[in-house]
C-alpha cells in the first residue's frame, strides 16, 4: 500500500497541475519529501507513529520510513525535546511534534535554556538543526489547554526561529525550509487551517524547493495588495484579515494584507514598505495582546513609519484572558467586524 504522501505526489505528477490539497496533507508531504531527501531526518513525538498523530499530520510516515526513523516516544515533552537536542548534536535532524500548544510547556526549560542557546554557547561548534512542530491557536471548539497561542514565548527567546504558514502552499514550502535549516525552528501550525484546501501544484513546489531551498525563509508576503491601510497578520488570522479586506473593499476602502509568515526573523522590509505606502496599519493576531508578537509589530511599525502614519497603529488581538471554552471562543477571536471597527478607527477624517 502506498503512503498518502506518495499518492498525493502521484496524483500531482499525473495531472501535472494544481490539485486540491489540504493544509494537513501539504505538511505530511513536506515531511515525507524531507525524509526521502535526507537520511538524517527523523520524526518523533506522541502518537505520531501507528496513529499518524492526533491530527494525522504524520499519517503513513512510519509505514513508509520505518520505526527507526518515525517513532512514538514515552509521554514526556521535556524528554522529547531534550532527547532531540542530543540527537541533533550527534548528526540527526529531528522533527518533533508537540501534540498541542499547551503541552509544549513542560519542555520549556529544554527549549529556552538549550534549544535556543546551544549554538551560541558553543560559539557555533554545535548546531541544532531541529524543528519543533506545534499545532497552535484555536477556533476549533477545543477544551482548555488545547487552543493556546504560544508564539510570543518562543519569539521572545533569542536563538529560536519562529514561523507559521497560512496557506497550503506555504505549509509545504515553509516546513521543508524549516527542516533544511541548520537553526532550530519552532514551526507553528494553525490548527483550524489543517482541514482547509487549496489548489496546489505539489510538483512545482518540489521543484521550487530543490532550486532555491530557502527562498521564503524570513520573508513576509503581501497576500492582497491595497492602498489605503495595511492589515498585518500571521497564521490563523491571515484568512480573517483577507475577509476583512474583502468586506472593506465592498465599502470602497482598498486594504492591503501582509502575511508575516516568519516571526523570527521578522521581515521589516515588506511590512515597512506597505505601511509607508498606506499610512495606516492594524495588526491582527489571535494571541492575548499584552506583551505579544502583535505588540512587537506595532512597536516596530511606529518606530519605522512614524512620519507616514495618519493614525496610531491599532491592534486586534485576543483578549488578555485564558483561552475561553468552546461556547465562548467566537467572542474572543479576532473577527472581520472587529477588524473593520479598528480600520474605521484610523482617523480617516483627519
Amino acid at each position: 500500500m502506498s503512503t498518502v504522501a506518495e499518492a498525493v505526489a502521484a496524483r500531482a505528477a499525473a495531472s501535472a497541475g494544481p490539485e486540491p490539497l489540504t493544509f494537513a496533507k501539504a505538511l505530511t508531504a513536506a515531511m515525507a519529501d524531507s525524509l526521502r531527501a535526507d537520511d538524517s531526518v527523523v520524526v518523533f513525538g506522541e502518537d505520531i507513529g501507528t496513529l499518524g498523530g492526533v491530527f494525522r499530520i504524520t499519517d503513513g510516515l512510519q509505514e513508509e520510513f520505518g520505526e527507526q526513523r518515525v517513532f512514538d516516544t514515552p509521554l514526556a515533552e521535556s524528554g522529547i525535546v531534550g532527547m532531540a537536542v542530543g540527537m541533533a548534536m550527534n548528526g540527526l535532524r529531528p522533527v518533533l511534534e508537540l501534540q498541542f500548544d499547551a503541552f509544549a510547556y513542560p519542555a520549556f526549560q529544554q527549549i529556552l535554556s538549550h534549544v535556543a542557546k546551544m549554538h551560541n554557547r558553543t560559539r557555533g561548534k554545535v548546531r541544532l538543526p531541529m524543528v519543533l512542530r506545534v499545532p497552535y491557536a484555536g477556533g476549533i471548539g477545543g477544551v482548555e489547554h488545547h487552543c493556546d497561542s504560544s508564539e510570543a514565548y518562543y519569539a521572545h527567546t533569542p536563538g529560536l526561529k519562529v514561523c507559521t504558514p497560512a496557506t497550503v502552499a506555504d505549509a509545504y514550502r515553509m516546513l521543508r525550509e524549516a527542516i533544511a535549516s541548520d537553526d532550530p525552528v519552532v514551526f507553528l501550525e494553525p490548527k483550524k487551517l489543517y482541514w482547509t484546501k487549496d489548489l496546489v501544484d505539489l510538483e512545482a513546489l518540489r521543484a521550487e524547493f530543490d532550486a532555491k531551498p530557502a527562498s521564503s525563509e524570513g520573508r513576509a508576503v503581501v497576500a492582497r495588495p491595497g492602498t489605503d491601510a495595511t492589515l498585518i497578520a500571521y497564521g490563523p488570522t491571515v484568512g480573517t484579515a483577507l475577509a476583512a479586506a474583502e468586506a472593506a473593499a465592498a465599502e470602497g476602502r482598498s486594504v492591503e494584507v501582509v502575511d508575516v509568515r516568519s516571526i523570527v526573523p521578522f521581515d521589516d522590509e515588506t511590512v515597512t514598505a506597505s505601511v509607508r505606502k498606506t499610512g495606516r496599519a492594524v495588526v491582527v493576531a489571535e494571541a492575548a495582546g499584552f506583551a505579544s508578537v502583535a505588540s512587537e509589530i506595532v512597536a516596530r511599525v511606529q518606530e519605522r513609519c512614524f512620519h507616514s502614519l495618519a493614525a496610531p497603529v491599532r491592534r486586534v488581538t485576543g483578549f488578555d484572558i485564558p483561552y475561553p471554552p468552546p461556547k465562548l471562543e467566537h467572542w474572543h477571536l479576532p473577527s472581520v467586524d472587529r477588524i473593520l471597527d479598528a480600520l474605521d478607527d484610523l482617523q480617516w477624517e483627519d
Binding site: 496513529l51 514526556a76 477544551v143 461556547k327 467566537h330 467572542w331
Partner: protein, 398 residues
C-alpha cells in the same frame, strides 16, 4: 518522619515494601485479585497477597453499593458517548471498562478527604457526589469547570498530564501542617507516569511524608501508545521503590480487590504510613475520546479478550451467586442509572445561556483596568448585535 510501629508492620506486606527489595530474589510480578472473570472467589493463596497479610473481603452492603455505582457509571459512560454523537457535548473521554476503578476511587475516601481526578475520571467525580451535569460542563464547552472543588473536595478534572498529582500533594501538605487527618487520592493514567511531574509529586509526597494515595489506572494505552513503549519496568507499582514508598498492583477490573486494596491504602495513609502507590491493571474499552479511532492501533481480538473480563459482569455474577443481588435489587439499580442518564440528557439537552462578560469576570479576583477596557469593547459589540448575526465567526464551521 517516624512511621507508627503498627503502620510500619502493615506496610511491610503492602506489596513492594521498603524492606522487600533490598536483597536479590526472583519471582513474578504480584497482583492482587480476588474474583476471577466469571465472578468466583479465587483460592486464598492465589490472590497475590503475602501470607499473613491477606486482604479481607469488604462487607456485603459495601459491595452491593459498589455494584450499584458500577451500573450507574456504565450508564453514564454510554449516555455521555451518545450525547457527544448527538452534538450535545464537544468531547467525552469514556471510562467504559474502567468503572470498577472509578467507583472504588470514590468509595475509599471519607468526606473530608480529597480526590484529584483526570479528564477520564468523570464517573469517579460523580460517584464522589458531584452533580453529573455540573461535571459535564467542561466537556460540553460552557466553561472549563462546572463544579466547586471545595464542595465535594474534588479537584477540577485535569488535562495537563500528572500536573494534578502535585496539587494533591499540596492539599495534603496544607492539611498536615494544620494537623488535619485528610487523605488525598491522586489519580493518573499509565502514560502519565512518564511525565516529570509524576516523579516530582511522588518524591515530594515521600519526603514530606504525606498521606497521599497515588492511584494509577493502567489501561494499557496512552491514546495510541501501548504500555510497552511507555515503560520497561516490571510493573508501574515498582515505581514506588525509587521514592522509598510502598506499592501494590491490583486487578483493575475486580471491584472487590480494588476496594480491599484502596481501603487499606487510605487507612494506612491516614494512620501515618506516608504516601502509597496503587496500580490498577485495566483496559480502556472504547477509543481515547470520540475524536480517536482505536482501530488504527489495536486489534479487535485484544479488545474482545478484555471484554471477557468486564468489571460489571464479574461483580454481578459474584453478587448473584452470593444471593445478595436479586432481580428486584437489579431493577432498582437500573432505575437509579436511568435516572442519572435522564438528568444528563435533560441537563445537556438544551443549551445553557452563556454570558460573554464571563470572559473577563474570573481572570483575577477583580478585573484589571485593561480587562475592564476589553470587557467594555466586547459589551459594545454585543450590544450592537453584530456578533450574534455574524456568519464569519472563526471556528463556527467545526
Amino acid at each position: 518522619m517516624t512511621i507508627p510501629a503498627e503502620a510500619q508492620q502493615a506496610i511491610r506486606s503492602f506489596g513492594i515494601s521498603l524492606e522487600d527489595y533490598l536483597l536479590p530474589v526472583h519471582g513474578r510480578v504480584q497482583q492482587i485479585q480476588i474474583l476471577d472473570p466469571s465472578g468466583h472467589l479465587l483460592p486464598e493463596d492465589e490472590r497475590g497477597s503475602a501470607p499473613g497479610h491477606e486482604y479481607p473481603i469488604p462487607p456485603g452492603e459495601e459491595l452491593l453499593e459498589a455494584y450499584r455505582r458500577l451500573v450507574i457509571g456504565r450508564r453514564v459512560n454510554d449516555q455521555n458517548s451518545a450525547l457527544v454523537r448527538q452534538g450535545r457535548m464537544a468531547v467525552y473521554p469514556s471510562s467504559h471498562g474502567q468503572e470498577a476503578c472509578q467507583v472504588a476511587a470514590a468509595l475509599c475516601l471519607s468526606e473530608g478527604d480529597w480526590m484529584f481526578p483526570t479528564y477520564r475520571d468523570s464517573v469517579a467525580v460523580m460517584s464522589r457526589g458531584v452533580d453529573p451535569v455540573e461535571a459535564m460542563t467542561l466537556f460540553r464547552g460552557d466553561w472549563h469547570g462546572g463544579y466547586d472543588p471545595h464542595e465535594h473536595h474534588v479537584g477540577i478534572q485535569c488535562t495537563p498530564l500528572t500536573t494534578q498529582l502535585l496539587h494533591a500533594v499540596g492539599v495534603a501538605h496544607a492539611a498536615k501542617l494544620r494537623g488535619e487527618d485528610t487523605v488525598v487520592l491522586a489519580m493518573c493514567g499509565d502514560g502519565a507516569t512518564s511525565e516529570g511531574d509524576f516523579h516530582e509529586a511522588l518524591n515530594f509526597a515521600a519526603v514530606f511524608h504525606l498521606p497521599v494515595v497515588f492511584f494509577v489506572q493502567n489501561n494499557q494505552y496512552a491514546i495510541s501508545v501501548p504500555l510497552a513503549h511507555q515503560t520497561v519496568a516490571p510493573s508501574l507499582a515498582h515505581k514506588a521503590i525509587g521514592y522509598g514508598m510502598a506499592g501494590e498492583r491490583v486487578d483493575g477490573n475486580d471491584a472487590i480487590a480494588l476496594l480491599a486494596v484502596l481501603d487499606r491504602a487510605v487507612r494506612l495513609a491516614r494512620s501515618g504510613s506516608g504516601p502509597l502507590l496503587v496500580e490498577a491493571h485495566t483496559y480502556r474499552m472504547q477509543a481515547h475520546t470520540n475524536a480517536d479511532d482505536a482501530t488504527r492501533y489495536r486489534a479487535d481480538a485484544e479488545v474482545q479478550a478484555w471484554a471477557a473480563k468486564d468489571p460489571l459482569v464479574r461483580m454481578r455474577e459474584y453478587l448473584r451467586g452470593e444471593g445478595v443481588l436479586t432481580d428486584d435489587v437489579e431493577a432498582s439499580f437500573a432505575a437509579d442509572a436511568e435516572e442519572v442518564a435522564r438528568r444528563l440528557r435533560e441537563g445537556l439537552g438544551e443549551d445553557a445561556a452563556v454570558d460573554p462578560a464571563d470572559l473577563f469576570r474570573f481572570v483575577f479576583t477583580e478585573p484589571t483596568p485593561q480587562l475592564r477596557e476589553q470587557a467594555a469593547l466586547l459589551a459594545e459589540e454585543v450590544a450592537r448585535d453584530d456578533i450574534s448575526a455574524r456568519d464569519d465567526i472563526p471556528g463556527k464551521e467545526h
